[in-house]
Subunit: 338 residues, 2 copies
Amino acid sequence: MGTRTVCLTNRPGVIAWASVVGQKEKDGPYGGQFDVVIPNELNGKQSFEAAERSILETAVKLCAQHAGCTLGDVQMLLAGDLLNQIISAGFAARNLEIPFYGLYGACSTMSESLSIGSMIADGGFADRLICSTCSHFCTAERQYRAPLELGNQRTPTAQWTVTGSGAVMLSGGPAAQQAKIVATHATCGKVLDLGIADQNNMGAAMAPAAADTIEAHFRDTQRGFDDFDLVVTGDLGHLGRDLLIELLEQKGIAVQEDKLFDCGCQIFSPSQDTHCGGSGCGCAASMLCAHILPRLASGELRRVYFMATGALLSPTSTMQGESIPGVAHAIVLEHREA
Amino acid sequence: MGTRTVCLTNRPGVIAWASVVGQKEKDGPYGGQFDVVIPNELNGKQSFEAAERSILETAVKLCAQHAGCTLGDVQMLLAGDLLNQIISAGFAARNLEIPFYGLYGACSTMSESLSIGSMIADGGFADRLICSTCSHFCTAERQYRAPLELGNQRTPTAQWTVTGSGAVMLSGGPAAQQAKIVATHATCGKVLDLGIADQNNMGAAMAPAAADTIEAHFRDTQRGFDDFDLVVTGDLGHLGRDLLIELLEQKGIAVQEDKLFDCGCQIFSPSQDTHCGGSGCGCAASMLCAHILPRLASGELRRVYFMATGALLSPTSTMQGESIPGVAHAIVLEHREA
């Protein structure tokens, strides 16, 4: 085993999960699979930011409910989001009263939290911990791009930030016995930057990091596409997914395109006018919890490579002329026989 | 052992550390103890943001050098900072080429990274990982408060963001054999909010979380001030430290004030006009690496409780009328006999 990939020898269990999305996501091809759909962008709150944190809270509470435990039984919350100072996760953690480690990996946060959470669970430090992340179209647009009221035209390479959240409970203790899914490996991403400076082309900024992490993982574990039922990426979008395929082929990796499932390409239908697809850390998180984990639990999928990708820019770095570094963290999830 | 505190049974080793600060910190009472002092606020860069990331890079490189290894030997970097989207840590990770998990805990980030890093090392997932954080007076002022050029008057409760960084290498593998310091326990903080809404009074916002984590740790481990040579807090400042003492006494904890060392109270001298003291995640990080770890390594200190505290606000949450949630993460470090 190489140094980039860690082997989770105690195989921590994935014991529960939950997803929450908005109306546009409900109208997409996977609309019927999410646990909760909020009625509108404000979800009864005074601000989009308050609405965003409310969906993370809902996902975490529902996840605990699915696990048959209370929030007080959860030892740690590992969570983050896209907002400055991750206020969605931080304020949600205040209301949830679960001890909280805040993470920031932009759109890679779901696989970052699962990677760190799996290592913590594997080490025996938590019988129940929750990994979660969220994003919201309206908060992301005004923070990263422009106020919605401006009605700016979107470029062809743009992606649409998903309003959504996912929460996953992991266990490295007695609660793991009920798990139908286990985590087996994690690969930490390197921050790569090939000089993309267009903040409306995140897919291109993230693809090199995605290719690098896949290459490292396959090399470390002596595996390839043959060994997985699905290789899930977070939100590369249509352009980023194409670039990833090209980069992997340049590295001599035989890509099986039918197994390469990008949540950003999938969550909306072409008629929904989202250009290159969905994005935001809620994209991979909600799709994982709504569409991937149930199929792993049932045994329809046996082994999945899950890798969310993030663009580590800030509006400040962009204004200062910096290019956009990308990162991609991977975790391998397997069905466990009863 | 209660659920909030984890016991690091394999006792991961603290094998190297390094600190970098600015001129004002050099002029303080601990000025002679930092490894590197940058010549001015720009440190040869085009922007304060670029200068900030350069000090984190310098701290990490020097830490690896102190450990007698190359950056390529370091398996993970767990780091964060105060800037939006933690661009200091993210861009530094790009340049350092170390696999990177980004964290955000505001000024609690150093003890958050050490806590997570210790669990990862204890689980046997890394022979060498680095925990680091940084802050910079000029970037923090313009992001959180007002442009420096305005020359705003500072309120009496204000603190001065430290320009500084600290980096600590942990090992859960063969490299741990050289360690003179080990990590033994970690306590994850709960996000607490007692309704402080003044962003110039961070000490008061963070004190309740600090008191809560100390109470949880002492209860979980059946320990008190008697069991530690030093109880180090991050940057509560003079007002926050006084409040912490009051809150602990209300909880029935006997405080030994001579052992309660707040990095924010200590890093500057009263004549430096910093009002309530230093702040910023570089404050606890640089003081830990310059002043605490060397004394633990020598055996002058035998057991230290290290707890950085963070205020999880953002300028957006403040403008939306939200109060300021605080968090505090703790790690226990012990001298190890040769």
